[in-house]
Symmetry: C2
């Protein structure tokens, strides 16, 4: 690598570093808003966040970045940059091109419309009235369509919707997703039928027994300790707080999760803590040398979800996890669960039951909720359907896929905040994450054949080490399609995930 | 006011607004560091804070500000700006001139040296070894001397040290401080002698009785409620958290305080909560129309301290406050204080006892700690003494003023963080605040003759309203010398504060 190339690269990386520092600071301000902020501060806070985002936008579209990129890329020694350096240049260029191509007015108008649409969504949801929501949603969809068309040019995708998917799952396409989702859908519907007609059904009534919040809190701490997510020691790099909707945020040495405790729904905090913990250990296991570099982040939304769902479901809903934890949880809760045996407990937290609300769905029905949303988004952005038609197609799909009847749009098309927030293209990540997690599990089994035995003894360490080495440490060095190939040796494939679910359910339901 | 003047003024105020938004966001990031941050994040956090401070510096030295200021000030209609507008222009110009005159290298070197000096101070304090601290302190003092000389030119002060005082107490001078401190010192030393030789002495032993932290927390909440500092309702604009050293931070609708609970020193949290609460209600009662304007902040460090000390001492250590609160506190603490009557309680929390550590000093001896530091700073920055001589003169002064013997420099010259942090010129504010609080009290007594009766019935409301109207609502509209005149009708004057202390102590000590 020649000197002049080094110097432009170094300068470019300095710019990237500054942006990561700013964005990680903004993440703290955002976390504070969700967890600690006095309610009166909301107006001030929105100005603060808007300002930090404006500063960030300015930093990431700084013309000097364009200049450095050009200098590096036309440099005769460009080819001698190593893989990491080339990836950093690629990721910065991708972001720079996209950010600079989007007209500022469009960005500003979209931000404004997002705020209005979210606000209207809350009111419309409370009023169970889609017609209130519709006009604002239409405006927001139109704005995102405009952005999608611009981004399609920059990203060179086949369709506008693919350009939106690419934001969350780089290089993934609606066509590829449709293919894997078709297979996934068929497998899940058949599995749901098997579970439904199986003679053995769980008695889940104990899940509603009241467990004091303080007890739940103590158990949540045990869970973080178990997965090696440190929130207590003098070297802790994490925190566990409480919010209505659990989330993970942060960067490297400061990665925070939240959960929610319901006194009469004690399984909620268990699985949300494990879910967010899965996100958190991904972030914490990124290559420490890559801090402040674009490669030093998670690969994609789908990959992030693969890690959270891995810890939540593959680990946390396994029989072996509860061999270890059920006695402890029983002891902690006093006599509350004394009559519940391991079989009943594990079957109940894996109860397959079609329902209306995505965030309450079990592991088997969950992806059908996603597939419904994906189909609607894809057709909406291809102008095959209109916003007006969304409720009707939504309800029809729920009947067809899950056999449930939607009685009003608040438990239907208006249940999630994503569309009100303009996050089109995001939903597929949830199902892609599950699919990846199945492939990752199949590979891990080969390397760690006794992982279940270890888990039943309370040892998560070697599993975590395996995930860190084989998934987390790659950061954003590859696009998801390349990363999954790198990890498991094959392309995205639904079968391992379906196999995992079939195997688990056949044991639980005895079919 | 002509149109062109309006337009430059509006643009200038837009710049100011952005700076306030940024700084209030940075304050949240700083608060998080002190209260919630996982320990591992410290290195990342220092980069985040440095970046926000760099962005703030850039914003406040933006050449456009200079341009707008010039346009406004040379405008023929300048005189038709109103008082608030003129003050805003004045404050922005003052800050702009100072910030732009300080060379960037000096600012950067000082920031770096501050970090080193604080770090060395911690180690030297632990090792009780001033010689470790000395070389780094010398470097920092030299850097601040350089800054003081530059600021002296800009601010047109008589001495470099005056330029440093001006940062915290605008237009105040070492000469004026020396004058009032001489009178204060004499009055306090004579009062201390009277208390010492009085026949009636308090038995303070009960202050060491263990009160569970949870009980302390509940009482702290009652105190915030009492002073109308809302941390609980859906419209709350405040928070109460825990830190080693209590502090207040925030802006308008988001003003947060902290306290510290010691199981065997229950008076600590009471007075620190009231102290920080006093700062907080000052901020919360600023004119809401002045948000994002330079006038919309507290007047000076001294005035801020006058409000915190007013609530902590004049209110919180008064007999009437405890007429109302002691029965409640006794009930809350179960039987722990059942044998302690009102007289003993009030006398004990007003126990006058010379000591070595400033932050543990009682109301009467406190200012002597300040006067000692002020004398040292003044002579140091006038090159009359050297850093090497500080410990010896310190110890000598403590003997002379307070009659206590300093056994090592960790309980002497190295006890406070201020000098290690480069905060020269700050200490006088603490005593000035006490002096102002005495004048403010004398004036309030005239307007609210029955304030003590009201307080004894648990009514702080009219006192708070009086403070809000007569002190808080002025914000930074006047320099402190003008503000005190505006409020009480006379210049800074030690007598009311000394009278207040004499009156209180003569009753308690029965002399």
């Amino acid at each position: 690598m020649m000197k002049s190339s080094i110097s432009s690269y170094k300068k470019l990386m300095e710019k990237a570093k500054n942006l990561f520092i700013l964005e990680s600071a903004a993440a703290i301000v955002h976390w504070d808003m969700e967890t600690k902020m006095p309610p009166k501060a909301i107006r001030l806070r929105s100005l603060q966040l808007a300002m930090l985002s404006r500063i960030g936008h300015k930093m990431s579209t700084d013309p000097e970045i364009g200049k450095f990129l050009e200098e590096i890329m036309r440099h005769p020694e460009y080819d001698r940059l190593d893989t990491v350096q080339k990836r950093n240049v690629y990721l910065i260029k991708k972001n720079y091109d996209e950010q600079t191509k989007l007209p500022e007015e469009l960005v500003a108008e979209t931000a404004k419309q997002q705020a209005i649409t979210v606000d209207t969504w809350k009111k419309a949801k409370a009023a169970k009235d889609f017609s209130m929501f519709k006009p604002e949603l239409e405006k927001l969809v139109d704005l995102r369509k405009k952005a999608a068309e611009i981004l399609m040019e920059v990203k060179k995708t086949a369709t506008p919707y693919d350009a939106l998917i690419d934001i969350f799952e780089p290089k993934m396409t609606a066509e590829a997703i449709s293919r894997v989702f078709a297979e996934l859908r068929e497998g899940l519907i058949s599995l749901i039928r098997k579970c439904k007609t199986a003679p053995k059904q769980p008695d889940t009534s104990f899940l509603k027994r009241r467990v004091p919040i303080d007890t739940q809190r103590r158990f949540a701490e045990s869970l973080t300790e178990f997965i090696g997510y440190d929130i207590k020691s003098k070297e802790a790099g994490g925190r566990l707080d409480e919010t209505e909707h659990p989330f993970t945020t942060g960067y490297y040495d400061d990665v925070r999760i939240t959960t929610h405790y319901y006194e009469d729904k004690f399984d909620s905090f268990i699985f949300s803590t494990l879910h967010e913990g899965g996100h958190a250990i991904y972030e914490q296991n990124l290559n420490p040398e890559w801090i402040f570099q674009p490669v030093g982040t998670g690969c994609s939304s789908g990959f992030h979800e693969s890690q959270s769902r891995f810890v939540e479901n593959i680990i946390g809903r396994s029989r072996e996890f509860w061999i270890y934890f059920l006695p402890k949880f029983k002891e902690l809760t006093g006599g509350i669960l004394s009559d519940v045996d391991l079989d009943r407990f594990v079957h109940s937290v894996n109860h397959v039951k079609p329902s209306k609300i995505r965030i309450e769905a079990d592991e088997v029905t969950y992806c059908l909720h996603i597939i419904i949303r994906f189909n609607l988004e894809r057709d909406l952005f291809a102008d095959k359907i209109t916003v007006t038609e969304l409720p009707q197609i939504w309800n029809q799909s729920y009947k067809e896929y899950l056999g449930v009847s939607i009685e009003n749009d608040s438990e239907g098309v208006m249940q999630d905040t994503h569309w009100a927030s303009g996050l089109y293209g995001y939903f597929p990540s949830y199902a892609l994450g599950n699919i990846y997690s199945g492939q990752i599990l199949a590979k891990m089994k080969k390397d760690l054949p006794d992982w279940r035995r270890q888990l039943s003894k309370g040892n998560f360490h070697s599993i975590k080490q395996w995930l860190a080495k084989n998934v987390h440490s790659y950061g954003d060095l590859y696009n998801p399609a390349d990363l999954i190939k790198k990890i498991v040796g094959e392309e995205i494939n639904v079968k391992p995930y379906l196999n995992y679910l079939y195997e688990k359910c056949s044991k639980l339901y005895d079919f």
